[in-house]
Structures are given as C-alpha cells and as structure tokens.
Symmetry: none
Subunit: 191 residues, 4 copies
C-alpha cells in the first residue's frame, strides 16, 4: 500500500469540502475529519486556514496549467492555438469539477481578488501562454484590438460560465458542443 501522504489527504479533503460547500461550509474540524487526521495536524502542514486556501489554489494551478498546455505549440496558427487552449480548459473543468468549483470559490472571494491584483501588478504570472497568444493575435491583426483584460473576458468568461452550467447539471456537454462553444468564443475575439 502506498503511504497516503498526510498533506495530500488534507488537501484533498479541503478541496472537496470547499468546492462543495464554500469556505465557511468547510470548518477546519470537518476537513480534519474527512482527511482522517486530528484537528491540530492540519497546522503542521498549513500555517492557518488562509494559507491552506491559497496553497490549495497554487497547487491547483500547478496541476492545471501543464495539463492544458499538453500538445500546445506556438508554431501552429493563432486560431488553432486558441481552440486548443480553450478546449483543453473546458475539458479540464469538466473532468475535474472539484477543481473548477474550488477555483470559482477562490476567484470569487477576497483571496482571489487580492491574488489577482498581486499577479497583475507584480507581473509574476506563471502561465504566459494565454497572454502570449493574445498579444500575438492582436499584433497580427487576427484578434480584435481591445485591452487584454477585455479579451480575456471575452474568451474565458463564457468558458467559465458554460463549465459551471455543465457541472451544476444545467446542460450536458458532449464533444461536439464543447468544440462549437469554443469556436463561438473564437468568433468573439477574432477580428
């Protein structure tokens, strides 16, 4: 039997509870319980709940970004690259609904806002593919000439919303619908 790393058990439990019930629907004691550890044990791995929440998010990003970029190549045409990333993202969310729900909870909270502000101001973005793609697309006049932030909204806004609807059961996406949704997103950003 593989040793189930305790930090990982805690992370998994916290991710699941927070994804399903939100931050204040996931008391530390409940997380500990679900992880099968004592309440105090969490604090050996995470300084406090805030840190747990933030690190969980960073772990999530580190899992997600490589997955999305698999097979991605800057040699391909702009449109194709856009479709690749968009599709990969939407698929990731559908395949890992807990990750998606957690991500949503995080973004829609002071944590996420602060985090994003730091990122934008601090220019410490780890995942440059999106930014690079859009900048190139705009420069080559294949995408609309709008501020990056708006372009991101046009591209990712629908993806997030559609993923949400899928996960909540308001729609049932198949391969075709995924493709057509992402192509629609392309229509929104293309020139």
């Amino acid at each position: 039997m593989t040793k189930p790393d305790k930090r990982e058990e805690i992370s998994r439990a916290a991710l699941e509870l927070i994804a399903e019930n939100g931050f204040h629907g996931a008391p530390m004691a409940m997380i500990a319980d679900k992880a099968g550890v004592g309440a105090g044990t969490i604090y050996r791995y995470f300084e406090n709940k805030d840190v747990l929440i933030t690190e969980l998010y960073q772990d999530l990003e580190e899992r997600m970004y490589p997955c999305i970029q698999e097979g991605y190549s800057t040699d391909k045409p702009i449109r194709e690259r856009f479709i690749h990333l968009g599709t990969a993202l939407l698929r990731y969310f559908i395949e890992y609904p807990l990750d998606f729900r957690y991500l949503e909870q995080f973004h829609n909270s002071p944590y996420g806002t602060d985090y994003r502000r730091d990122k934008i101001l601090g220019d410490k973005e780890e995942c440059h593919v999106f930014r690079d793609l859009f900048e190139e697309g705009i420069a080559r006049q294949e995408m609309k000439n709008l501020p990056l932030v708006i372009m991101f909204s046009l591209a990712f806004g629908p993806i997030l919303t559609v993923a949400r609807d899928q996960i909540l059961g308001f729609v049932s996406l198949d391969q075709v619908l995924i493709t057509r949704s992402i192509e629609a997103c392309w229509d929104g950003v293309k020139r």
Copy 2:
C-alpha cells in the same frame, strides 16, 4: 418626504455590507447598526438571514430588469436588440457596482445555485426578454443554433467578467469600449 421604510433601510444596509464584504463580512448586528434599527427588528421583516439574502436578490432583479428594458422594443432587428440589452446590462453594473457585487456574491454561493435551479426547473422566470430574444434569434438563423444555456453563457459570461474587472479597477471602460465589448459578444453568438 415619505418615511423611509424600515424594511428599505435594512435592505440598503445589507446590500451595501454584503456587496463590500461578502456574506460573512456582514453580521446581522452590523446590518442593523448601519440601518439604524435594533438587531431584533430585522426579524420582523425577514424570517432569517437566508431569507434576507434571497429577498434582497429578488428586489435587485426587480429593480434591474425594468431598467435594462427601458426603450427596448421587439420590433427592432435581433442584433440591435442584443446590443441594446447587453449594453444596458453592462452599464447598469457599472452604474450600480453594489448591485453587481451583490449579484456576484449571490450567484457564487449555495443560495444562487439553488435559486437558479429552482428557476430553471420551475420555469418561473420573471424576465422573458432574454429568452425570447435568443429563441427568436436562433429560429431566424441569425444566432448560432446552440442550447439556450450555452448561448446565455456566450453572451453574458463576458459581460459579467468585464463588469467585474471594471469594478475592481483592472480596466477602465469608456463608452467606446463598452460598445465594442458588447459587439464582440454579438460576434460570439451570431451566426
């Protein structure tokens, strides 16, 4: 001058506090304080905090929908109607950031999910304009033939995201940018 209804004072106070600090940054006592009423008084007008939150949302919708539909006419072409609604919505959010923030808090919480589920399943939607517009647009083959839920995502996803960025200060929208953003949304949904 009309006596400022106590219920309204409570609503205003609650909306503001929740919009700015989230649900758990707005204790009932603080709401009461800000509303200038006793803590117990809130419970004369709202059964409990959950009810307060939900009714606040319904009030908000009732304020917002008429505002958005002002000057709207089903006689005009599909595209023009879409631009009208989209622009009005985005403008509303920018003009009433507290409403927007509250709406976001609500949607991104168990309240919002449950509420939306009830709405979709129960078919008790109050605001048919959007649905009507999209159904007509699809029927006339001016819009993409995708499930309504996805069409809504394509149209409103970016609007919400862009409004959020504006309110958080990540972008500064002027009249031109608003128009171009909504036109881009149209590109996403149009055939």
Copy 3:
C-alpha cells in the same frame, strides 16, 4: 432584591477566579459560568480578555485609593502620614485578599509592566499622595535621599510581601503586628 448588574457579576467572578488561579487558570467560559451568564455576554461588557483584565485592575485601583486615603491629611507630620498610608494599605490587602491577589497577578505579568511603564512615562498617575508624601519627606530631609523608585521599593516591598504571607497563611497579623511592621518600614525610609 437589587438588580445584580451583569457587568459587576462578571467582574466579581473574574476577579475571584484570577486571584485564586491566575490568568490562565481563569478561562472566559469559567468566568461566565461563575458569573451566571452566557459566554458571549462577557464580550458585551469587555472587548476581550485583555481589556477585562486591565479594566478590572482600574476598577480595583478606584476602589482602593479612596479607601486608603480616608482620614488622610497633608497637614500631619510626615511620619504620621507614612504610617497612615502604610497601615491603611496593609489593612486593605488583609481585608480584601482577593483584591490583593489580583493586584499581584496583574503586577507580575506583562499587563502590569506595560501599565506601569505607561504610567511612569506618561505621568498620568491618578494617585499622587504617595509621590507627594515621599517628595516632601525627602525635601524636608526626614526621609533618605534616594531615587523615588527605590524609596517606593523600601516602603511597599515589605508591605506586599507581608500581605502575601498573611493571605497565604504563613503568618497571622494582628493590630499590633501590623503597626510594628509599618513602623519598621518607616525605619527603612526615614533618615
């Protein structure tokens, strides 16, 4: 029956528990229990435990100082005034052993040190009798010419220690012993 003020009940309970068991032998829940109130009620009267502790001390001083100065007159000779104050102080401690024990706990803790530092630096001493007496005694050359702080130690050090021994049962003071002890203190400070 007189309405037993809740704040007072809490004060009494806290004073007693802290006097007997020290600060960490007096959890808020235990204080609440002993005061016959709910745990949360304490926080209506005292912002937090630190504030409770500090205000308790200030209340104590306000009770004690007038009591000690009763019948005190600056017209009398230095020695007589010293004996008056010393005796009154020792008697007060013996009569109100809880006050004494609390005062000791307070002084021997970061609270007391900070409080005293503020007092000395800020010159906001409420009880000037002691200082006045000693300054006059030194000026008139009836007391030793030593720094005030040391003079206080010579005078009050023994009083505190002796009160402590009495309260812990290591000695049993009667009227005569009290007088002779205070006279001994005078011998320590007199020229």
Copy 4:
C-alpha cells in the same frame, strides 16, 4: 570540551524562555527547539512541564545560594553579615536577570506558593544562613523582635522590588545605590 549535557541545554532554553515570556509564553516545542533537541526528548529528563518548572527552580537555588554565601562568615558582626547577604543577593539578581525573572515568575504562581508551603511546613529548607542570621540577630537584640516571616519580608521585599525595577529599566543602580539600598533594608530590620 565536555559534551553539553542535553538536560542542561533544555534547562537553559527553558529558563530563558520562561524568564522572558512567562510560563505560557514558553511552549514545550519552543523550548525543545531552542535547546536543539526533539520535543519528546524533554520528557526523558523531566516527567512533565510542571516537574521541569519546579526542578528548574531548584537548580536555580542551588546555583544561587553558594554564590551569595561566598566570603560569608558567621564570625562577623550581625550588621556586616546582613549587608553582605543583601548586597550579594541584589548583585546576583542584577548580574543574572534571567535567574531573577524566572524566580519571580515561579514565586508568583501556584508553583511557588505550593513549593514555599511545603518548605515551611516540611522544614526542608536547604539554605539556613538567612534563618540563622535573623534568629541570631533577634536573640542578640540587634534586630527587631518580630516573627521571622515578617523579618524576611522587611529585608527581602525591597530587594526583590528594587531588582525588578532595575531589570525593567525603571532605575539604574550603581555600586553606591546598591549599598545604600541594602543599608536602608538594615535600618528596617535593626532594632
């Protein structure tokens, strides 16, 4: 160089932390850390925290008493012997402020009270010099005829208080002030 005994490292670390931060500012884990040992290791040398605290105090006494009695001789006159002991004690406290602060923490706590009660009742005092000196002084009518406990208070009360003020920075003692302070103590106890 002798291998620095682990027990000693633990003692040193505990003494320093407790002296500076009090008993509850010195968690076992922090002591272990500072001592450079594992948390569990402490329990090989001390049954539990209470025992650690008490044994630390006994160690301190064993260090302090010989130091104070250096050069002390029962052949000298009572007054000279008193001055010797008093001065040595005050100097010790000033030279080893950590020892003094620890001693204070200990005395002003249930530990100290219990310990002292045991000592007085059990008559197991290790350091007889003080008692001997005072008994002789009283017998020879060079000291006041008061209960021993009170005499101790008159003599040591001021010394402790003055040491405290020095260590907390409320006064700055030089050789002259030390001598004059102790002489004042003598005035308090002498006939």
